[in-house]
Each structure stands twice: as C-alpha cells, then as structure tokens.
Symmetry: D3
Subunit: 253 residues, 6 copies
C-alpha cells in the first residue's frame, strides 16, 4: 500500500519529520511518501494561511489524479493524508479523487474518542483557537471535546524547538486534564508529530500523535477497500474556466 502524506505548508523540515512519523506507525508493507506543495505558506497559523495553502495541497492530488505533470513517485497512491490540524480543504480534496482522504485532525479525534470519555486539543498560538475549534465542529465531535488549549508556540517552533514545545504542551495538557476534564490529548499541529511518547511519560493520559493517527486510519480505509462517496457532496468538480491557475486545476467534461 502506498500513502501520500501531504504537509500543506512548504517547510520541508516539517515534511521530513511528518514522513518519519507516518512511517513509524504504519505497516512495514506500507510505503509513505511525504510531500509539501510548491505554492503556499511556510506554516499554517491563521485562516489566511489555511486558505492560501489549499490550492497547493489540491495540486498534489490533482497531479496524480489527472496523470499529468507527474513528479517522480506521483502515481498509484492508495490514499492521501492531509497533515495539518484543521484538515484544510479536505472537502475539496475528496471532490478531486475517489481515493480515501484522511485529515489528521479528524483521525486524532477518532482515536482519542476511543481512549477516554473526553479529549482536549493542545495546540499552537491562541489566534488559531477558532480555526482548531472549527475543525472539531466540521468533524462533528464538539460534544466530546473538553477544550482547545493553546500554547504560545508557532508552527515552526513546534518543529525546531522540541524541548520548549514539550514544555508548552505539558503545561496546557495538565490544565486540560485538571480543569477541563480531558482524559486524552490530541496533538493539535502536524509539527508536534513524534512527541506523543515524551508527553505520555509526564502526563496521566494518553496523547495522540495526530500525524500517526492520520496515517494509520488511511491504512484502515485502504484495508477496508473504501472509496470516497461520489453521490452528492464530493462529486467531481463541475467543468468550468479556472483563471490564474495552471491548467491542471481545470476540469473539463
């Protein structure tokens, strides 16, 4: 099985880490390819970043789906993972392919929801709180989410300042457990991939590596032989003129 994990920001170091984490949790027989889009922000911390990241993210799926402009390794994926907690553009991704698309936000919430009665999300800057909560609502699990707790970390810092990241996450996770009743923690940023064990060593609750969760749930959908529903919402986009984008973005009859 081949899974393409798309980090929708353009920071290659983060993509590399995401790839390593996804690889660690998936089966030996699963090949993980982690990529960054060519266009988009270096990190996603606002709605602005989120919206500007989606075209590049879609491009990573369109290339294979349309069989054009393929880069090496671009073919024959069995599923896609969107590796940003917020699951940006995931509905659009599902429109352009029949292959399963898994968001790391939804995946981590499903996992957390099977481990405890309520989960919290430990994440980056306070400004992202509404954006993170919107992902919880989009998935439908708001009644199970005890809280979204923000640190003062930027996305890049989660990747580069691992120790400070662990410290920050421990602090807000403890508050989530003690004040909000969280019984499990979702790591609310792809940059936090690989930190779950370090946090579990200090916390009384399970910590879900969202990148890992996204990767293994993508495997699950492939194992079950499922495809995205094409009956209504996620139908192939209508054919129409698309100005200012490469022709790859245009759908025709």
């Amino acid at each position: 099985m081949r899974i393409k994990v798309i980090n929708p920001n353009t920071t290659q170091a983060m993509t590399d880490n995401i790839g390593r984490v996804a690889d660690r949790y998936t089966a030996d027989s699963t090949e993980v390819v982690a990529v960054s889009p060519e266009r988009g922000p270096a990190s996603i911390e606002s709605y602005y970043d989120d919206y500007l990241a989606v075209p590049g993210l879609l491009e990573e799926i369109l290339r294979e789906e349309k069989g054009v402009e393929a880069k090496e390794g671009d073919d024959a994926f069995d599923a896609y993972v969107v590796a940003c907690w917020g699951d940006p553009g995931i509905e659009a991704c599902r429109e352009v392919t029949e292959k399963p698309v898994v968001g790391i936000a939804e995946a981590s919430m499903y996992v957390a929801n099977m481990l405890g009665a309520r989960f919290s999300v430990a994440t980056i800057l306070p400004r992202a709180k509404d954006f993170i909560e919107a992902a919880v609502v989009k998935t439908g699990l708001e009644s199970k989410c005890a809280s979204v707790r923000c640190t003062d970390l930027t996305v890049i810092e989660t990747e580069e300042a691992r120790e400070a990241t662990v410290e920050g996450l421990l602090e807000v996770s403890r508050l989530a457990v003690e004040e909000d009743g969280a019984e499990a923690i979702c790591l609310g940023c792809a940059g936090m991939g690989g930190l779950d064990k370090a946090l579990e060593a200090e916390l009384p609750v399970p910590v879900v590596d969202s990148v890992g969760a996204g990767a293994v749930l993508a495997e699950s959908l492939v194992s079950l032989g499922k495809s995205t529903s094409k009956v209504m919402t996620h139908k192939r986009p209508e054919s129409k003129e698309m100005s200012g984008y490469p022709s790859l973005f245009e759908f025709t009859e």
Copy 2:
C-alpha cells in the same frame, strides 16, 4: 460611504448584476463598486471552486489594505461584501483588514430571521447542499434554518436563464414553505440577486435578496462605526514566506 462588493467568481456579467442590485438597495450617498477577482473559477458550485476562489478574493482586499498594485478605484473603501452564498474565506478576509467584511449568506440569514420564525435557503445544484449548510453552521443559525432546498440550476444559469431560475426557485420555495415550515426564503446564490420581488409576487413569504442584504448590512456596520475585532481570531496574519503567490500576499513585520 464606499463599499466594495466582491463577487468571488470571475464571471463579469454576474458581477455587473451584483453591482446593480447592491446599488439599488443602498443609500444614494453610498457608492458601490462591484468587482471580480482575476484568479479563480468562473462560478462557485463545489468546495473545490470555493477554495480556489479565496486567493483571488483576498487579493481584492489586500490591494487596498497594502496600498500597492492598486487598480483604479481601489482606495478608501469603508467596508467589503463577499458576494457568494457560502461566505467563502470570510474569516481570512477579516484577518487582512480592520474594515467590516460582510458575507451575503450571513446577512441574508439575519434579515430572514427578523422576518419569520424559520427560514429556508433556496439554492443551486444539490451538490452544493453541504457547502450551503456549512455556511449556516458557520453563522450559528442552524436552529433557525428549516431547510436548504436545491434546484437543478448552475450558478451561471441563475444569471443567464432568469425565467427558468424563477421557476426553479418557486418550486423549491413552495416545498420549503409547505413541507419544511419555512416562513422566509433566503436566495442562496449571488446570481439570484434581483429576483426577490418576482418571487414574492408568487409566494406567501418574504424572499431575501442576499446581495441586497449584504450591501445594506455593510452600510449598517459603517454607520455604527465598527471595525473587525483584532483581539484574537482575526488578528493580522503572521509574517512568513508565501510561495507561489504575488508578493502582495506576503505579510512582513
């Protein structure tokens, strides 16, 4: 007062109509400028279209906010209106300006909610139903929305085939009133701007022209002297590298 109404698709005929409608309902002293982005889809009927429209939509605000690359008439707007039922990218728009930004979806729902106990949205193709419902949820009024009723109309048809559009809207609006308990109808596409009176002539309920609603509510926010909150969610985007977009999209310290 000057209001910039942005039709986030690239179909100029629709933009022209949107401008006329907005102008009709606003005060004589209000100058309405209706524009289309340069990049993006010819119409918005899917999540895919929606996400690809947002960069171009943002560009229309960024140009003035950053005072660069200005086109004629690009300065000194008091408010922005996003003229697509779905309010695409509206959170991001609010991040890049302090001026009020009004979505025609939210505006039409507020108006409808003051006219009857429950409203329905009459809109385009069935595939857009989830997208339209997401706008209702984003605004927070799902408990007041009796139903979203879809026609078989594309966005372009609402603009070009006015008679068929009225027929289609009458049919689903009657179902909304008789079967779903709707007491007011929101016209769920900017292309339907200007059809409210024709529909009201045949229906027992008020019909809200969403473009008109967006324009007059933008006037209201300006009259009240309000600016978008910059305390958390809608702060200015963080400065970072933005690949594959014009430099206009980059924020720096």
Copy 3:
C-alpha cells in the same frame, strides 16, 4: 424613512437618550421617534417586568396599525424597534403589524457576530442573566455567545450613573475577553446606549451599541423593502374577546 423606537419601560429620560442614540446612527433622512408606553414598569429587570411591559409596548404599535386613538406623530412609520435587551414581546409585535420589527438584542448580536468569532453580553443585575440568555436562545445564536456577564447595575443606574456604568461594564467586559474568549461585546441594556465609544477606548474589542444596532438594522429592512412573514407564526391575531384591556387590543374579523 420614519422609525418608531419603543422603549418598553416608562422612564422618559431613558427614552430620550434612546432616541438620541438611534438618531445619531441612522441616516439624516431617517426620522426617529422614540416613545415610552403609558402602561408598564419603570424599568425591566425581571421576567415579571418583562411580561408587564409587553401590553404597553403592543399598544404603541396597535395605535398606528389600527388607525385609532392616534397620538401626534403616530402614523406612517416604516419600522419599529423594541429597545430592551431581551426583545420582550417581539413575536407578538410581529403579529400585529406587517412592518418590520427589530429587537435591539437580536440586532446587536448580528452586528457582533460579523465583527468577531464569539461575543459576550455585558449587562445589568445577575438576576437578569437567565432572561438575557433566553434572548440569545430566541435569536438562535447561543453557539456564538461566549458568555453573559452581569454587573451590579440596575437599569435606571445605567441611565443615571454613567461613570459607574462604564466602570462596571469595563470590569465585566475585560473578564469576558480574558476568561471567556469574547472578541466583541454587546451592551446588554438599552440604558447603555451611547457608551460604546467610551468602552472601546479602554477595551481591545469592538463594543456594540445595541440601540444603534437596532436602529440601523431597522433601516436595513426598510431599505430592502421587506415585511414580516404572515404565513404562519406571525399571522394577525385571531379575533376574540379581550377582557380588561382598552378596545384597541381587540381584533375583529
């Protein structure tokens, strides 16, 4: 355009201020007439006050609608505003007229909801909290309301002790922003009309003058040419005997 703003309590000084505030925010061409009912409480701070205020409030609409017992200036209004945060009796008001009726509670929430991701209401005595929250639920925006924060102010004090009122509102608004995540504040009492700028000078978030919001949204509905839906909930009341009230209150075939 002529708008009748009804302060449903009998305190003329408050009515005068409400009129001034509504006038300030509406267009020059809009004539605002602010009135108090003849019957009812001097202020509305409980459900008891609320229910006893409604007959007098209705009378102010019935006089014009029925063209009888008119007082000077009672004719040809284009819209009504109910100027008490709680929107008392607004459903009944909508039954007795086809003209738009706007409550200042709903209006202020719509405005706040376009300015920030979540709003709080800063209001009077704690005993009114449930009453205020009921207005939020009636409007349908409970998922967007971060909190209702009460001061120790009575309605009359908000009118007479402006400095203490500002102090009290600043204190609870700061708590709303810091502890509840509010990104905008609704002033939860008509007596607070005119204080928004003073509060915005001290707070990091926009503050919505609810009286102003009610007035400009009434203008908006008139501009759009909308009437209250008469299809079901807000039909004209059934004709029947009405004991103990002036004949003005009786509807006949």
Copy 4:
C-alpha cells in the same frame, strides 16, 4: 393540600372543565380550585394572546401572595398550576411566589418522557406551532420531542366540539406515531383536558392529559416540601413604579 389551577384565558367553561380534570387525577385530600383571570383573552392561540394573558395570570397569584384584594378561597394555596400549553409567564409567576408553580406543558413532557423514547405534542391551529415549540425549548426537552403536530382546531373548539376534537387529535397523533416516531402523545392545549382515555382507546401509545399532569406534579412538589429557588432568576421583582396596573402589581421594599 390546596392547589390553585389557573386557566390563563377568561373562558369559564374551559376553566370548569380544567378544574374537573385536575380534581379527577389528584388525591381525595387535595382541594383543587380552578380560576380564570379577570383580564386577558378568551383563548390563547398566538404570542399576542399569550402576552396579554400574563398580567391577569399574575394577578391570580399576587392576590394571595400579597394578602390584599383577596377573593373568597384565595388564601393558603400550596402550589399553583398554569393551565395553558405554552406555560405562559411561568418564569414571572415563579418570581412572585415561593410556592411551587407548575406549567402543564412542562409537566406533560416529563410524564411523556417517562413513558416512551420520544413524544409528540398534538395541538391546536398551525399558527401556534412556534409558540408550542418554544415551550418545549424552554423546558429543555427538544431532543426528546419527535414533533409538534397541529390540527385545525381553535382553543374554544377543543372545549366545545369534543367529538371533532377527538377526530382531529386522532388524525395528527397517528401521523406523529407513524411518521415521526412518537411513542407518547402530549395533549397540547388545556382545552383538551379529559380526552386522554378516549384517544388511548384508539391509539397504540399513551396519551398524556396535560392538565392532569400539571396537577399531580404540583402535588408532587408539595409532597417533597420544595419551594421555588430564590437565589437568582426567580428572586422577588425589584420594587419600582408600575404604571397603568392596579397597585397590586407594584412591589415595594
């Protein structure tokens, strides 16, 4: 135990029937006194009627609570029942007395909720649907309410045309069971008091006589020795001037 059942409309024949029904279900040792207010509508079918009924309803409680203007039999009640499905003014009633106040809407829903997994309300004219649903929301049981089904009956008809009322209720109750999944029916008008057995003879589900439910739940609260909470929402109304009402309505320090 003495229970005052207040029919908030002025139709004495309905009050007499309500008294008989309440008496039938309560203990022999319970004395039921059923009354109508002096002021108010002959029936409650709209929000308008509802609001105009409340002052008269409050008067029936105030007379005893304040010990003035007492009519024969006005003293020493242990609890009050508000006998209109909609529980009009019940929050205000709870403010003016410490004695338990039970609404027949809430009471019937509690009973129905203990008999089946979901209940429907069978009620009067369609125009009352929103008003009835508001009572469900006020009680908090909207997730358990399968539907509100309206007949074409006015309140007075439910009282005077018993056979037609049974027919109408059977028709909508069958729809509630077969199409909405109702497993119990609440009779949504005090005028329907006494019809439960006739309906149960024809329907496969239990039918709750709301007047009876209100009366026995009032008995329950008295048996438990409970008083209305005076800590916040239902505190005694503030003392203030009350224009246009008898002095009975004024509270003073």
Copy 5:
C-alpha cells in the same frame, strides 16, 4: 397504591434508608416496598458496577411480571422506582413491564427544573462524573444542567458517614451555586436520600432528594393511569434463548 422501589445494589442498609425516605414523601395510602437484588455489586460507582447491577434489577421486576418465583410481597405493584442516580437499565425495565418505571435521576431533574432556571448534580467520586452526565443526556436535560460536581465520597460512605457526606455535599453545592450558576441541587446518589433538609438549612437553593422525587413521580404516573408505551422501543423483548441466567429471564412466545 403499591410501589416497589428497587435499590439496584445489594447493600441492605442503603435499601432500608431508601425505603424510609420514599415512604416519608409518598401518601399515607401508598405502600412502599424497598428491595435489593440478589445478584449485583454492593454499590454502583462505575459503568462496570452499573452493568453488573442491571440483571439483578431486572429480576426484581421479572418475578412479579411473570408471576413465578415470587417472593413475599412480590405481587400487584402499580409502579417501579429504580433507585440509583444513573437510572441504570431503565430502558430494559420498561421493556419487561407495562407498569410505569421511574428513575430517581430523571425524577430529580424534573423536580429541580421546576424550581430554578438551572440545576447542578452533587454526587460521589469523580470517576462517576461521566456516568452521571450520561444520565442527564439520556433524560434530555443537558441544557438545563449547570454542572455535575463530584465529592470524594463512595456510595457506601454516603450511607454510613452522614456528617461527612453533608460536609462534602455542602462544599460542592456551594461551588455549583457560586461558580456554575446552579439554582437547585439534585442529590446524585440514592445513598444521599434524606439529606435534603439538612443541606437546605445551609444552602441558598432548594435541594432535591432524588429518592423522594422518584417515589412521588411514580405516584403521579399511577394517579394519571399511565402505562409504558409498547409501540416500539419498549416492546416486550423478543423470545430467544438466554444462556447462563435463570429461566425467569427467558421470554417465550
């Protein structure tokens, strides 16, 4: 009237107290029989205890319903009360009898909901919080529940250490009132039966004795002549083989 109150744990001292409390609040003419099952846990503090208690609880109803293996006093009950806050197995109880079955959790919430605008539940160990909240959701009143506040008390301690129990309940009840806005308190464990008055002496809010509430609401259902709905959810269980249980548990055509 005869009411069987089933304490679903096997601790006889608690059963005796439950019987005394139920007896105190019910009419003189009502005979209360309080029993414990033969099989099950000594107390219910976890989902595990809850599930293991249900078979024994069902047995107490099945014996009478099936008229076999009757113990003295096992016949001719008019209603059943399940005396554990959590209403364990109440849906199953309703399947095996047509007689009304009342849970003390739901009963206490209905009572509290008629006394104040919002109630809290004061209960045992923190580990039971989710279990208690599930009972609130099952009843449908989550929007009226201000909080579930846990003490450090085990079920047995509530029965044996009355003074410490009162202390613990006072502490969390005060927090519920002051921090969560509770206006009434439900005693969230059958072992707390009989403590309401002692708590009301110290608290500014009414305290609902859940055992008492269950008993009087069972009386109410009997007075109203109601039976459990057999139309769908609570139909008699299908006949099938039931391994490892006494034959009493098997249903046959």
Copy 6:
C-alpha cells in the same frame, strides 16, 4: 498482533462469520480470535438483550486481564473489539483493561464520516431504532447521522437469510440516500458483516462493514501504541463485593 473480537451474543454461527470478516480485513500478521460469551442472549435486539449480554462480554475480557480461568488462546491479546452495533457495555470494558477496546458502531461511524458528508445506519427491527440512535449519541456523531433506517430483519435472519438481508438493506439504504441525504451507509448489525461489497454493487454510496471497521481500527490503536485512559472515567472498578457472579467479576485491592 492478536485481536480478540467478542460477539456479545451466544450464536456461534454469527461469531464464526464475524471472525472470518475481521480476518479478511486485517493484516496477514494480525491474528483474529472471535468468541462468544457463555452467558447471555442468542441475539441482541432490545435494551433487555443488551444489558443481559454485558456480563458475559466482560467475562471474556476479565479472564485474560485477571489471568485466571483462562481458556485456550485467552492470553496476550493486544486489543478487543465489541462486535455488536450498539457498542454494549463498552465503557465498562474500558474500565477492566488498559488495552484498547473498539466498538463496531463507533468504528463504522468514523469510517463513514471520512467517506461522505453524512451517513445513515441500516439496521434490524424498528424496535432497535432508539438503541441504535443511543450508540450514535454515545459516540458523539449525531450531527453527521442522516438517519437510522430499520428493516424487518431479526439479528439471526441477517446471519441466516443472506439474500433477504441484502434485499432489506438495499431497500432502506436507497431510502436513506434518496430521502435522508445519506452519502455513506453503516451496516448496523454484526450479523451483516461481509455484505458490504454486495450492497455497494447496487448502491451509489460506500457501505461500511462495521465488523471490518472495528477490526482495522483496533489494529490502528495497537499500531499507535495507545492504551485506554485511566485518569478518571475508565479507572479500574472499585473493589467491592459482587454477589451472584463468579469470583472472576470481583475486584480487590
């Protein structure tokens, strides 16, 4: 990896099929052991069956966890799957082991939620509708569930009458898609395991084999190295006397 899939009913033919289905979807390196409890109903179609199945289900976990009374193959499982749509007793299962426990209901909903915008559950007898809906609520995904559609099939029939089962499921699934807007179908009974492909051949939407979903999600949790949270709700049960059950059920310090 070794996964124990527990069919909580005692019908061995169904257990055999469940084992085959779980085996088909899991990795070659995963050993699936499917078992039935010794005590409990032959099928689960009511709350009664559900509650009586749980003790036997728990026994299957307790044996290994406590290392006593082990049957051949009872040791060293990495995760448990509860194979009944309704996830009976899953909270209690999570209390008695640290190993992940997955319910097939929750698992199938997570999978369906990643394939379409809304899912429906196609299930057995109408009497189980409330029971099935309770599982949706327990998981937290009610806002994503378009409907629960019941056939007239018993659990045993789903196992024995495969053709009729396919017919019944096709009929209700088509209704779910056409009338309720379902974009994916969950097979709402473990007996339906293995029918997904036959249904997908006839339906325009993906069909989730719930047994398969449960098995692969159990694999996912093991791959991620997660354990059930022991911080609060799912702590080990308190030690106490447990009457009428084998000593295996008793917990001691």
